[in-house]
Symmetry: C2
């Protein structure tokens, strides 16, 4: 893409929403709520052109644009969001909010409230004293941010992966405010046993790290080895064998240290995913990973399914090995069984779960039509 010719939303910045108190669905009250958010485009006078983007497990509200002219990375759905793109910022006011317990709690560009936050009553980080949260709590927190921006009713809620869970939860929690839901690489309408176990295995490396200390590590050292192993597992789960074979094949990491020669010698793919994970671990928070894993495991729309009134577009990825295309079909069947207007289109590709992020432009026209419908 020629940046000079098509800069998308251009430069963006993170804002902060604050509230003195936030009541969770569990009844617990969180003091001093702070959440980052980004907006692109403008709210119209009728206040009815807002689209909320809900982010994935390891993501945050940075879904389009760049933070500076020299920023080499754009937000994860930049291909989808911008002037003339399917989520057209000439027409729509786009809002995205950093999740509660965001995994990037140590990233200066993420603003979140969770186990890494300072408990105002003790002056020390919460650790596991922070109450567990749910996908529905994310939705309630996003509602507050939207209200502070003058948005009462949404045009649509759109999100990939854990973001699709939130988008569907919007439909179930605030049916009158949610005419359209775009669920990209979604799970089923509740986490199934296999997903529960898979996400559970992301938690284990953190729980085993001797530096984790039952969550009391904020004085340091941080449990970065366990966190990196967890992020390595997540990375692997979001890939696909065709993609991995094409990029890495069977190359050793070091041609002079063949993997057949010693236990510690590695193939290129092994060091590549470990290195990426180690870098990400530096700005991530281990306890927050546990809290988000719980959110996914305990996600269930079942008690509120009957509330949904939204039109729904479901976009699974054909090569997804984490939230399988069959999960998207299951959600489609469930929602159609409720008599809803629901549409299913598969993102064909070999990029695995990540096709829901980086191959989203393949569905540009479908999404455009859906938002116009």
């Amino acid at each position: 893409m020629n940046l000079a010719a098509d800069p998308g939303v251009g430069l963006v910045s993170k804002q902060t929403f604050s509230a003195a108190e936030f009541k969770l669905t569990s009844g617990h009250i969180v003091q001093d709520l702070n959440l980052g958010y980004e907006t692109y485009g403008k709210l119209n006078e009728r206040g009815d052109n807002a689209i909320l983007i809900t982010h994935y497990f390891t993501g945050n509200s940075h879904c389009a644009g760049r933070y500076s002219e020299t920023d080499i990375e754009v937000g994860y759905w930049d291909a989808l969001i911008g002037p003339g793109r399917a989520i057209d910022t000439e027409r729509f006011f786009v809002v995205s909010v950093d999740s509660l317990c965001n995994i990037g709690a140590r990233d200066p560009r993420v603003i979140t409230t969770g186990p890494a936050s300072v408990d105002p009553t003790s002056g020390k980080p919460y650790g596991l004293r922070f109450p567990l949260v749910s996908i529905q709590d994310f939705v309630h927190s996003q509602r507050l941010v939207l209200q502070s921006l003058g948005v009462e009713r949404l045009h649509a809620v759109c999100g990939p992966s854990m973001g699709a869970m939130q988008a569907l939860e919007w439909g179930a929690t605030f049916p009158e405010l949610t005419p359209r839901v775009l669920a990209v690489i979604p799970g089923q309408v509740e986490a199934d046993a296999y997903l529960i176990a898979r996400v559970g295995s992301w938690m284990l490396p953190v729980l085993r790290d001797p530096n984790w200390k039952n969550g009391e590590y904020y004085d340091g050292p941080f449990p970065e080895t366990g966190l990196a192993d967890a992020l390595r597992q997540i990375t692997l789960d979001t890939l696909h064998y065709d993609w991995a074979a094409r990029i890495f094949d069977r190359r050793p990491h070091d041609a002079n240290k063949h993997p057949a020669a010693a236990i510690e010698n590695r193939f290129a793919i092994e060091t590549a995913i470990s290195d990426v994970a180690s870098v990400r671990a530096r700005t991530a928070d281990a306890n927050s990973l546990l809290y988000l894993a719980k959110c996914v495991q305990t996600f269930s729309l079942r008690p509120r399914l009957q509330n949904i009134r939204s039109k729904v577009l479901i976009l699974p990825a054909s090569s997804d090995l984490l939230l399988f295309p069959a999960y998207g079909s299951s959600t489609f069947d469930t929602l159609r069984g409720l008599g809803l207007e629901v549409q299913l289109q598969t993102l064909e590709g070999t990029g695995g779960h990540l096709d829901g992020l980086y191959a989203i432009s393949r569905a540009q026209d479908t999404i455009r039509r859906f938002l116009d419908s």
Copy 2:
């Protein structure tokens, strides 16, 4: 199955094969080779009715029958092997051999030589001083056992998963001795990048266990937590979401400790796979897991593919999430591209990778015809 009416091969026992020396393909020489094996049926006078069964990653040579009248478990392919079954022990002499570096090194019913064995030169367990081995070394060791039993040429080699790698390696290493290869839930003709990474993530929990101590743990305590976490991951990788949903659904492990109430509260599927893994870890050896993982990662028939002359039957499982059905198709395409007589049939089911073990009787007739061909 009515045991009284159809006892299969009945009671079986493990034998030991020993050799003073065994030369690995790497050039290293292993002293005092000891390998367990089992046989069912009888070798005929011409010595041409032997079928070798090669086992999977966490398995051993116990593929049929029971060790005692009160033994509640039969060998893993009992449904396939026995009088009148596809691998008919009235006709065939069936042999299976415990692998080198077998993961069950601490199981009294497994006899193996590997990192947990005592190095005769030092009188202490080898640990990481044991040389790395390969799938081809397994094949060479099996050849020695077969020769000791008077078997020169095989009727067939049959194996699931890592056993399929060995079966194909027989065809590539001893083409004159291997007229038929049955490859059940196989990989590709070499481990691809994704499988390398997945198997690599089985190694990590062992490498991180503080008790692992670079493999020097035989004085105890053993790195059983890391080993159990690795076995948990392996177990999960061999399952399928439909099976998991049917058996476990979203039940909490303890109805009074709901997973949404505390970080440590678990769903039933989480504790079930962890508990199974912990039990298995008690008779398993952590270093041996690392050695077997290396065998799978470094597996490549590529340099010897042109040697193969065998007829090949490939049976992937439709719901396999570890060695995907596409891997079986890839192996089929590769072998057919070499002009070989190769047949592909998919085991339809929702049991995941494990369908190659526990749903094998669905292919009973296909296997019978193949062995008669």
